[in-house]
Every structure is written in C-alpha cells, then in structure tokens.
C-alpha cells in the first residue's frame, strides 16, 4: 500500500511539472495531462473500473442534454444513480463481458465499482450546475469523474472545479509546495497514525490488531464501546488522511477541491458534527436531497430521516448502514425539533455543557459508525448483543 502511495506521489510530481510546462492558454493540453494520467492509473488498477467510470460520465452528459431539452422532467438527473442501483443488485464488474476463458478475480469485480458512489454524486452536482450555467462540456464531466486523487473517496466536487478558468491559472509555486506538504500530512495520518491505531493501540486495548477483534468478539459493553471509539478514530484518521492527499494533489495543479473535515472529534452536537464531518457530502445532502424533500413534504423531521436513510444506503446496501442512516436522521430530527420548541438549554455551565456535548456526540457517532462497518449481519448481531452483555 505504501509502495502504491509512493508511486502515486511520484506520478503526481511528474504530472504537475508537465502540466505547468504547458502554457496557460493551452487549457486542453493541460486537461489532457490530467485525463491521460488519471486514465492510465485507473486502467492499471483495473480496466473495468475505467470503463464503468467513462460510461457513467457519458450517462451524466446524456442526462444533462436530455434535461436541457425537457426541463419540466425535473427528476431526470437522478437517473445518474442507476449504475449504483444496478450495482447493488448485480455487481457491475460481473456484467462486463470478458473473452472466453478469462479468469475473473472476485477482488477485481469489487474494484470495478471503486469510487462509483462518489463520482455518482459528483456527476449529479455537475448536471445541476451545468443546467444552471447553461453549459456542461463532456471533457469537464470526464475530468471530474476520473481525476485520480479524488477518484476513490472524494471530496465530492462538481465538474466546474475543472472548468476552463480553473485550468488556465498561472503556476503557483507556493501552492505547489503547500500541496506537497498537505500530501505529507495525509501520508503520516494514513501510514503512521492509522497504522498505530489499527495495530499498537488496538493490541494494547483488545489484545489483538483491529481487524482480528471482529473474530474475537466483545466481552463486555465497555469493551464494545472502547472498540467503537478506536474504530471511529481509525476511520477518521484514514478518511481525512486520504482527503489531505487528494486536496494536496489538487493544489499541486492549482485546483481547489472542497475541504472535507473541520476537527469533527470536537463536535458538541449532532448538527455540529455534520458541519465538521465529510463536508462535501453534507453540502450535497443539504442542497440536493434534504431541501427538495422538505419542499415536497413540508416536514423537517421526516425529510431528515428519509434523507439520511438514503445516504446510509448510498454508502452500502446493508442492515448496518440502514441503522446508521436511521440513527443520524432521527438524532438530527430530534435535536431540530427540540430547538424549534425554543426551550431553555440545560442549566449547566457552558464548558460542562460543551464537554458533555462532545462526549455524547462522539459516543453516538462512533457506535453508529461501528455498527455500519461490521463485516456481516452476524458480526452486527454479535456487536449489538455485546452491549447487553450477551455473547452470541
């Protein structure tokens, strides 16, 4: 894995230097550098992945053209989720015809849809913004889909991030250096801190590395709770580390990808958590799912629960993520409803209320996240039972 990152860093350094050697006026040459580099890297990773990504980008562009022609059919852009829905039923990798006798690795089939969830939302945003601006060139759609640093896990940005103006910027040495530094921070998070949490810390607390805890099980409710904190910490370090790498890579090309995290571990309420965690998804949810649903139903709580349930299933169609979505949606609905009552806050000193809020929020989101990420329904049942002190 570290070797892969070393190669990616080397490729990014080289590609960014070639990119800056091209004159600012030759935007399509610069775009070609981004597309060829991204396309090649994804192809080497898995050719099926590249094919699915390009076909999905084409679908997005067709949906944009169709919606422009038939603006009254407001739901047309949502058809971009079709590949995701099909993939939930039959893995898309299995639908791609290979020559007779070709071996098909199950791993390759899984990889075939790497990034699909993320670029589906990027493409939806691109269609909507394209409709607003009255233009959506296919080359921009393709760039946002394939841009390799953000390909596997975002951030979720529309194709306008890669428009003509963005690609014609002058070289910025300061930003390039900052990009290298940001990638360094990401690498340290993922490979030093993440490895420490997953290995050393987990062994210290549970006697085995994190991935083996699922097999060993959880003896007591406290044990299960401690595991929730550790696995959520690992998720945060890993996810934010990869985001740092993506954003830093963007800076090396003087491109602005959306910041995705703002110290979520100090969130003092569930609403505050969603202003700090996975911000690009949070913005997408608010603008494109929650608001239209609120307009349609007129009910804030219902809209929140339905929106977050759908977002849970967007992550993965599983019982764990269904509970995750219901949990986040219900908690947000409850806090929004309570605040709407205009009742006084708890009569506690401010710092105690803040610290208490942080403890409750992080406990809640950690447990929900651990529920969602259980490898199987059987593991999920065992994990939930352990909170009742029951061993399954």
């Amino acid at each position: 894995m570290l070797a892969t990152i070393q190669i990616l860093v080397l490729v990014t350094l080289t590609a960014s230097l070639v990119y800056w050697l091209l004159p600012a006026g030759w935007v399509e040459g610069r775009r070609a550098v981004l597309l060829v580099t991204s396309g090649l890297l994804i192809y080497v990773w898995s050719p099926e992945t590249l094919l699915i990504a390009v076909l999905t980008a084409l679908l997005a562009w067709l949906l944009y053209a169709l919606t422009r022609r038939h603006p009254r059919i407001g739901w047309l852009p949502w058809l971009i989720v079709l590949p995701l829905v099909v993939n939930a039923i039959v893995p898309l990798g299995e639908l791609i015809p290979l020559p007779v006798g070709s071996p098909r690795s199950p791993l390759l089939t899984n990889l075939a849809t790497l990034g699909l969830s993320f670029y589906t939302f990027k493409l939806y945003m691109s269609i909507k913004q394209g409709l607003k601006l009255g233009s959506l060139p296919f080359r921009e759609v393709l760039t946002t889909t394939l841009f390799y640093p953000a390909f596997p896990m975002g951030p979720i940005d529309a194709s306008q991030t890669f428009d003509h103006a963005a690609l014609s910027r002058d070289p910025d040495v300061r930003r390039w250096v900052m990009g290298v530094g940001r990638i360094g921070i990401g690498v340290v998070k993922v490979f030093v801190l993440g490895a420490w949490v997953k290995g050393t810390l987990s062994v210290e607390l549970f006697g085995v590395p994190m991935e083996r805890v699922y097999a060993e099980g959880w003896d007591t409710p406290l044990h299960a709770l401690a595991f929730a904190f550790v696995s959520f910490l690992y998720l945060y370090v890993n996810f934010s580390g990869f985001t740092d790498i993506a954003i830093g890579s963007g800076w090396m090309f003087n491109l602005d990808l959306t910041e995705n995290f703002r110290f979520p571990l100090i969130a003092h309420s569930i609403q505050n958590f969603w202003q700090r965690w996975h911000l690009s998804l949070s913005r997408f949810i608010t603008a494109y799912m929650f608001k239209p649903m609120l307009r349609r139903t007129g009910r804030t709580s219902l809209s929140l629960v339905v929106t977050f349930t759908l977002i849970g299933l967007w992550h993965e169609v599983s019982v764990g993520y269904l509970l995750w979505g219901l949990g986040h949606g219900s908690a947000l609905a409850l806090t929004t409803w309570y605040r709407g009552l205009g009742r006084a806050r708890l009569p506690l000193p401010g710092p105690i209320r803040t610290v208490g809020g942080i403890v409750v929020t992080i406990t809640f989101v950690s447990v929900l996240s651990t529920i969602a990420n259980q490898p199987s329904n059987r593991d999920l049942a065992r994990y939930l039972a352990s909170f009742l002190g029951v061993q399954l």
């Binding site: 909507k128 913004q129 607003k132 609403q271 505050n272 969603w274 202003q275 949070s282 913005r283 608010t286 603008a287 494109y288 929650f290 608001k291 239209p292 609120l294 307009r295 007129g298 804030t300 929140l304 947000l332 929004t336 605040r339 709407g340 009552l341 205009g342 009742r343």
Partner: protein
C-alpha cells in the same frame, strides 16, 4: 411588500426555524456568518420563509448561499411585488 414587512417575514421564519433569536435582526445581519443558522437550518429557514410568504422564491435554488438579511429582503420584496 415593503422592506420592513419583508424583514418581519424573515424574522418570523427565523424564529420558526430556531425557536428563539438572540439579539436584533437587521439588514446588516448575516444569518449564517453570525451563527444564527447552520447549513441544515438554512434550508429549513428558506422553506419556512417561502411558506410564510405563500410563494416560491425563484431567485433561491438549492445552491443558494447568501444569507445576508439585506440580500434576502431584496429577494422577498422583488418576489412579492
């Protein structure tokens, strides 16, 4: 609708959204930057505002981000004639 009436409608929608409002709401207030609304609230607020006015504000789409009260008053006055 006059600017004063528009401001009153905005204040009412704000109260409907967050329960109670600390301090005065003037045309110089920025509802998000001044911490009165977060991103989720802002969508509920716009819904309450449209609901209270009984009309859809065409100038406000899903990506609307300008929560300066002065700008919102302009939109409401224009939409309600």
């Amino acid at each position: 609708m006059t600017r004063e009436e528009a401001l009153a409608a905005i204040t009412k929608a704000l109260t409907e959204t967050v329960g109670s409002v600390d301090g005065d709401v003037t045309e110089d207030t920025d509802l998000v930057a001044d911490g009165m609304l977060d991103s989720l609230d802002s969508m509920t607020f716009l819904f309450e505002l449209e609901n209270g006015l009984g009309t859809k504000l065409e100038a406000i789409d899903e990506t609307y981000e300008d929560f300066r009260v002065g700008a919102l008053v302009d939109i409401v006055v224009q939409a309600t004639g």
